[in-house]
């Protein structure tokens, strides 16, 4: 089941997964001498500040994605970049340590997915551009058409092709109450609907057995401090907090121009947990003196992917991005990039039948899902860090010693760097962290910490 010349492709969702799938499909089709008609259905206006223009995300682009995009000639314009990051600082209840990669170079970007936090519109024209809007423009530049409508229903026609039912434009004359506009038929439907909102439920209409991955909520807030304070306090570093607070996995504070983005991951994350993190001494030490949390900072509680989806494809239908397979706790945009490519490659080199997706696209999903299982195991070990102070001290001591020696391979530091930057797979991180020399150093530092503690 292959796409013919001038085949119609509908992509629901104009976030990174949707725009990148359109971009890679069109680029590959052009290289293969084929023409596709790709339409992206995205009602969100990325030029709006606050929730109406935002796809809810921490807005950090990993080092590995930045390198890959640069090599493939996809650049991030200056206007999209809010800040560049060159290091991490790890904060624990036993102290802090800075983790720097071997290179003196900025390779991590912080961006706003939409046009910025609610309230930022007071400084119109905005001095930055939305990342999602940039990717949508990239897809449009490659030949995609943007349809700013919400899809309300799906069906198949007699030839098994796809029909979309759209919400009419506001103010458009209606022939009947609740009437939807029909579009199609389409030869391929790509669902890039994320996990927030009702997008995933659309696919129930097609009854092919899709079930979204398990998910939990994160807390993401934009804290206004002003450019000067943000850079004085945070520098060009992302600050990661591994604190002994129940339900907290970790929190991160990222510089983003006039704002610092606080990301909190854990179990059943809510306002109370966010408040506890903000009041922790480790966090307070980084915030400006006398700084008060705004009564209602621009914040959201997006759903994050925690596992594998069930059957994210059927004949002429495939799901890509957070609603299918993604990276656990990090690098969601990088995962969307990889999966968009895997989807485009399957469509153009194999076909659009369920069997084509099973053989071409599904193995890429499974690789990611299997790696996430190891990620779960590694993150479950954070209890050691939080509840056993000597272990915490041992880890800080080893990382600190590594950073002092320029000739050291920095195995633990680089494993932690990749864990929080999303620059490597969990299996790769695990191999480095479990290196015998690393284990020996950690063991010795642990014994030293226990000995010092017992003497004290």
């Amino acid at each position: 089941m292959e796409l013919e010349n001038y085949a119609r492709v509908a992509i629901i969702g104009g976030g990174p997964a949707g725009s990148l799938t359109a971009f890679f499909l069109l680029r590959l089709a052009r290289e293969m001498g084929q023409t596709l008609q790709v339409e992206i259905f995205e009602p969100r206006d990325f030029s709006l500040t606050g929730p109406p223009g935002c796809n809810m995300c921490g807005g950090v682009i990993s080092e590995s994605l930045m390198q890959k995009m640069a090599t493939e000639g996809i650049q991030l314009p200056r206007e999209v970049l809010l800040d560049a990051i060159d290091s991490y600082v790890l904060h624990t209840g036993s102290g802090s340590v800075a983790i720097r990669p071997g290179r003196d170079e900025m390779r991590i970007a912080s961006i706003f997915r939409g046009a910025g936090p609610a309230g930022a519109e007071s400084q119109q024209p905005l001095p930055w551009l939305s990342f999602d809007r940039h990717l949508l423009e990239l897809a449009k530049g490659a030949g995609a058409r943007h349809v700013p409508r919400r899809v309300r229903g799906l069906a198949r026609d007699a030839g098994n092709r796809l029909l979309l039912f759209l919400q009419p434009e506001r103010g458009a004359p209606r022939r009947g109450e609740g009437e939807l506009l029909q579009e199609g038929p389409y030869d391929l439907l790509v669902g890039c609907v994320g996990l927030n909102g009702s997008g995933v439920k659309l696919f129930d209409d097609l009854a092919f057995g899709y079930r979204p991955p398990p998910s939990d909520r994160a807390w993401i807030g934009e804290l206004y401090m002003g450019d000067e304070e943000v850079h004085r306090r945070l520098g060009n570093a992302m600050h990661v907090f591994l604190l002994n607070i129940p339900r907290l996995k970790f929190a991160a504070l990222t510089p983003k121009g006039h704002y610092a983005t606080l990301i909190i991951l854990g179990q059943d994350v809510d306002e109370a947990l966010a408040d506890q993190v903000l009041r922790s001494p480790e966090m307070q030490a980084l915030l400006p003196v006398g700084w008060q949390t705004p009564v209602r900072p621009c914040h959201c509680q997006p759903r994050i992917n925690l596992g594998a989806p069930h059957q994210p494809f059927a004949d002429r239908v495939v799901l890509v991005g957070d609603c299918a397979s993604s990276r656990l706790y990090k690098d969601g945009i990088g995962a969307a990039y990889r999966m968009a490519k895997a989807c485009a490659l399957t469509v153009m080199t194999r076909g659009v039948g369920a069997e084509d997706f099973r053989q071409g696209y599904w193995p890429a999903c499974r690789r990611l899902d299997r790696d996430n299982l190891l990620g779960h195991l590694m993150f479950s070990m954070d209890g050691l860090m939080r509840h056993v102070p000597p272990f915490r001290k041992a880890m800080l001591a080893v990382v600190d010693a590594e950073q002092q020696d320029p000739a050291d391979p920095r195995r633990l530091g680089s494993a932690l760097w990749d864990t929080f930057t999303g620059s490597a797979t969990y299996i790769d991180i695990f191999r480095r962290a479990a290196h015998p020399l690393n284990m020996y150093r950690l063991g010795m530092a642990f014994l030293r910490a226990v000995f010092l503690r017992s003497r004290a």
Binding site: Q67, K68, M106, R107, A344
Partner: protein, 136 residues
């Protein structure tokens, strides 16, 4: 904070001033570089007083890729022509992407094929020059 391109916002990559050497012929390398902004010249030591300029490269081009495929020392020196901003790409990630992403491999092959095409054209041109000089 950048002194070459901006006064306010941090920028991605690493900056080099006009004339600064980014990589040097004969050194061992473990990364390639992508030009994010500006131009570079590729120089080869041909034994004469001044090195031979093999090429000028601009935004989106990459150089230093031979070190990614084999343990060759760098075969040329690359120097900034005016202010330049580049991003380094690590060997480990590059080799992983070659293995897991066929479209990435294709893109690299297309770029290298283009480079071979230009070099062949240069060989033909130089052969013509030699023929003219020798009068044959």
């Amino acid at each position: 904070m950048s002194l070459l391109f901006h006064d306010e916002k941090p920028v991605l990559g690493k900056e080099f001033a006009d004339g600064e050497v980014i990589l040097r012929e004969g050194e061992q390398g473990d990364c390639l570089y992508v030009i994010l902004e500006g131009r570079v010249e590729v120089l080869v030591d041909d034994g004469s007083a001044t090195p031979f300029r093999l090429a000028v490269m601009e935004k989106d081009a990459f150089f230093g890729e031979m070190a990614m495929f084999a343990d060759f020392p760098r075969v040329a020196t690359v120097r900034a022509l005016g202010p330049v901003r580049v991003m380094s790409v690590d060997k480990r990630g590059f080799l992983r992407w070659l293995g897991e992403d066929p479209s990435f491999s294709l893109r690299i092959m297309v770029k290298m094929a283009e480079r071979i095409r230009l070099l062949l054209a240069e060989v033909v041109r130089l052969r013509g020059v030699l023929r003219e000089r020798s009068g044959t």
